[in-house]
């Protein structure tokens, strides 16, 4: 068993009788990170994995007070569902709005093809897809499900921004490509947004924490 798993199962064991709550989830994350760092320090003094882990467990002290605290939150969780369902209602609103915008953009783009307008003007309405896509991503990520806790607003917002940047890159590329009839114009004009969007997305994926419920 590697060290990360050991820490996880130790924390699971300490809080095994405690009902799940956002507070417990956060506390475990906090304890996990600090414990890891402490073990790293112990190992630097020459201790092996097992000794470092044992020492870290001992010096963390008596966690019963915190367990008791968390138990109260677990019991309150039923009451908190009002809050949860409120955030979920907001997220549902975002999802509906996002889907509607994407659909609207798609239908408008489609119908433009049957109109006698410039090709550039045809895809102009696709901007609704860009906005809708971003809102949709935010709505999905900010939602608490049975298996996953709601992502923080900031993080969900950043994911939405990444989506918007990537979609906007495609949009700009298409528009400028159609306007100039040159492929390189399309690529260069979308490059900035695409790089920004993908960069942000990769950064977000790499810094992903553990958000899966047990």
């Amino acid at each position: 068993m590697n060290l990360d798993k050991k820490i996880d199962s130790y924390l699971e064991d300490v809080f095994k009788d405690v009902g799940p709550s956002q507070q417990l989830f956060d506390l475990k994350q906090e304890l996990r990170v600090n414990m890891k760092e402490r073990i790293r320090d112990y190992k630097e003094t020459g201790m092996n994995d097992d000794d470092a882990f044992r020492e870290a467990k001992v010096s963390i002290g008596d966690l019963t007070g915190l367990v008791e605290d968390m138990r109260k939150y677990g019991q309150q969780e039923t009451k908190n569902q009002i809050y949860s369902s409120m955030t979920n209602r907001i997220s549902s609103g975002f999802i509906v709005l996002g889907v509607m915008l994407v659909l609207f953009g798609a239908m408008m783009t489609l119908s433009m093809f049957f109109m006698a307008v410039e090709p550039v003007a045809r895809s102009g309405v696709s901007i609704f897809i860009v906005a809708g896509g971003g809102i949709l991503v935010y709505g999905i990520l900010a939602r608490e499900t049975k298996t996953r806790y709601a992502m923080s607003k900031v993080r969900a917002g950043l994911y939405a921004l990444a989506t918007i940047l990537i979609l906007f890159a495609i949009f700009v590329g298409t528009i400028s490509g159609l306007a100039s009839k040159e492929l390189f114009v399309a690529i260069t004009s979308s490059m900035f947004f695409l790089i920004g969007g993908v960069g942000l997305l990769v950064a977000l994926l790499l810094s992903r924490g553990q958000s899966l419920k047990k």
Binding site: E30, V33, R38, L66, S207, G209
Partner: protein
């Protein structure tokens, strides 16, 4: 370690934490290490006690918390002192100055004939 009794220090845990956060934002294990360092290795505040204190201070609005953006090894939970926390610290420091003098008297002072 443990050159000072837990009973003596218990009432001051919050002030000690506020004093450390006064010098900049910090996270659990770092605060733990700083307390050992400040005490010259004479006092170790258990991490479990720290987390309990954090929760109390957060609830009272003396400190705030936020998640760091570390990518390696998981995010840390940082704590920041609020304006209210700074005021509380200053007040606690004053109280301590007063208490220190009185305690000194109570513990060491002798009763002279005049005061009888």
């Amino acid at each position: 370690m443990a050159g000072i009794s837990t009973d003596l220090i218990r009432g001051h845990t919050d002030t000690i934490i506020l004093n450390i956060l006064r010098h900049g934002d910090s996270y659990g294990y770092d605060i733990y290490k700083k307390i050992i360092e400040l005490s010259g290795g004479e006092y170790e505040l258990k991490e479990a006690t720290l987390y309990t204190a954090f929760r109390r201070l957060l609830k009272d609005g003396e400190i705030e918390s936020y998640w760091g953006d570390e990518t390696q090894g998981g995010r840390r939970k940082y704590y920041r002192i609020t304006d209210q926390g700074r005021q509380t610290y200053e007040q606690n420091k004053k109280d301590w100055e007063t208490a220190k003098v009185i305690l000194e008297q109570l513990i060491k002072g002798g009763i002279t004939d005049e005061s009888r």
